[in-house]
């Protein structure tokens, strides 16, 4: 199981580099799709397929789609992406940083990674990810509500920051 996990994690880091090096929001969001896909695959290989499902559905299918549509309404008509020289320079810097980090940590034994689901003695499985969601709604009720309130606060903050056509300094319109 080591080789696919390694491959997906490496793809995750490369996708993050693509996200960081792109000046255009569309291609950065494409990099984010790639990153989420790699992260979801790592989750599946560890047995947490429900978490991967929720990630792809809510993050990619909900938030990223909304981001893509809103940035398509407001952002640049001639996006610059991986082919241009400036982006290639950023890519070179990030990859060299990745190389330096790899020199230091490659081959080191870290903490052992666990598995989120395993089969019991009888008919049944222990699914850590789904049980975690159940806990979040039962014992973690107050934390869930606080997280919900924090997300609502984020909505109000964003609404207040971008309020007013051509009045604020954040918008180009």
């Amino acid at each position: 199981m080591l080789a696919p996990v390694l491959l997906f994690l490496f793809g995750w880091v490369v996708g993050s580099i693509v996200v960081a090096a792109n000046p255009s929001p569309y291609f950065a969001a494409l990099g984010l799709v790639f990153v989420a896909g790699m992260g979801g695959s790592v989750l599946v290989l560890h047995g947490a397929s429900y978490l991967c499902f929720v990630l792809l559905l809510v993050y990619l299918g909900g938030m990223l789609v909304v981001f893509a549509y809103t940035s398509a309404m407001a952002a640049d008509p001639y996006p610059e992406t991986l082919g241009s020289l400036g982006v290639l320079k950023s890519l070179a810097v990030y990859f060299s940083g990745l190389l330096i980090v790899c020199i230091f940590v490659w081959g080191r034994r870290g903490a052992e990674s666990g598995d989120f689901s395993f089969e019991g003695d009888e008919f049944g499985m222990c699914r850590g990810d789904i049980e975690g969601v159940a806990y979040m709604y039962s014992a973690g009720g107050w934390t869930l509500m606080t997280c919900g309130w924090a997300l609502l606060l984020t909505l109000f903050v964003v609404m207040e920051l971008i309020r007013g056509p051509s009045r604020g300094a954040l918008r180009a319109v």
Binding site: T146, A150, L153, F156, E160, L161, R167, G168, A169, L170
Partner: protein, 348 residues
């Protein structure tokens, strides 16, 4: 700003600090810090001019980076030791990263570069909230993390006091001066954190009173640079008479209360055997004293009130409520005789 939105934002500010205060789990502490960061962003950008929006963007980027570092230290600690309690951190990697993340959050040197620019872009009230309230939650965490490397906190503290001295020497903008004084006072607080956390808390509370007085006096005078302070004798003569005492208390002169934390911290450092550190820190307070003295000079000590040489500003009736200012000014000036009581109050 819409009063409902303002109410939600202020509630978020209170909630974030409360959550961090009440948490023993690192994730809920991080949640409180993030709620604080988010809630203050529209307050900072409420005037919507480019300088304010620039300050908001810089603040958001630095605080998000600090929160990400905090989360990274949290997850590393969870991965290595399997537990999430703040007071039970034992592995050196998260124990080193957490104070550095919190140092970026509050603006300690060498992670201080954002603070003068951010504070310069804000109005005085929001700057006050930033300088006082937003420091509470990170300090709640800093006070709970078991100290690991004695040198790191001392280096952070020393660098902060020195930067807080040298950085303010050529400044004329009041908000930058207050930011740099914040860096210096935070340096004093961090120096003594591992030896006597109650002294850190005492310094923090006294710093709140002193900086509250200064911010509110500048707000009443509607002045943001030293030149506009020179006409404050015509606007509020009583405040003009008191403000040198407040500023010298910030500088740490006896018999004002600002002397109390510096004295106790130097005593604690000497008791721990850190004589060169104590000497350098005491000398750095001289630098800070220079620009506080310059502010007092420009405001009160130049020429006695007489016929003005230029156009005087309008003296409109201010709607600033005076009770908080009165309380904080008296705390800043007259609390030194109550030093034993203050020590007892903050010792658990």
């Amino acid at each position: 700003m819409n009063p409902y939105v303002l109410a939600i934002l202020l509630f978020g500010l209170g909630l974030g600090t409360t959550i961090t205060f009440a948490s023993s789990h690192l994730t809920t502490a991080w949640m409180g810090l993030e709620i604080n960061t988010l809630a203050i962003l529209p307050l900072m950008a409420q005037h919507h001019h480019p300088r304010a929006v620039e300050a908001t963007t810089k603040y958001f980027l630095t605080q998000a980076t600090a929160a990400a570092m905090l989360l990274f230290a949290t997850t590393t600690n969870a991965w290595i030791t399997g537990q999430w309690d703040i007071q039970q951190i034992t592995h050196p990697l998260p124990m080193t990263m957490l104070p550095l993340a919190l140092a970026l959050k509050i603006g300690l040197a060498p992670l201080h570069a954002w603070l003068p620019e951010v504070l310069q872009g804000l109005d005085l009230t929001t700057g006050l909230i930033l300088s006082t309230w937003q420091k509470l939650a990170p300090f709640a965490l800093l006070l709970q993390i078991p100290p690991h490397n004695p040198n790191m906190l001392i280096i952070l503290g020393l660098t902060s006091t020195l930067v807080g001295g040298w950085g303010g020497l050529n400044q004329t903008q009041l908000r930058k001066i207050l930011a740099i004084s914040s860096i210096a006072h935070l340096g004093w607080m961090i120096l003594v954190l591992q030896f006597s956390p109650s002294l850190t808390l005492l310094t923090l509370i006294l710093y709140f009173a002193m900086t509250f007085s200064t911010f509110v006096v500048f707000k009443i005078n509607k002045s943001t640079n030293i030149n506009s302070l020179a006409t404050s004798w015509a606007k509020t003569p009583a405040l003009t008479a008191i403000i040198p005492l407040v500023l010298l208390s910030l500088g740490g002169l006896p018999p004002l209360s600002g002397f109390m934390p510096k004295w106790l911290i130097l005593q604690e450092l000497v008791a721990q055997g850190l004589l060169p550190t104590a000497t350098i820190t005491a000398f750095s307070a001289l630098f800070s004293l220079y620009f506080y003295l310059r502010l007092s000079y420009a405001m009160t000590l130049t020429i006695s009130p007489n016929t003005p040489m230029g156009l005087t500003p309008w003296r409109l009736h201010t709607h600033q409520s005076t009770l908080p200012l009165a309380v904080c000014t008296m705390t800043t000036i007259a609390l030194l005789p109550l030093t034993p009581l203050s020590i007892t109050l903050f010792t658990p």
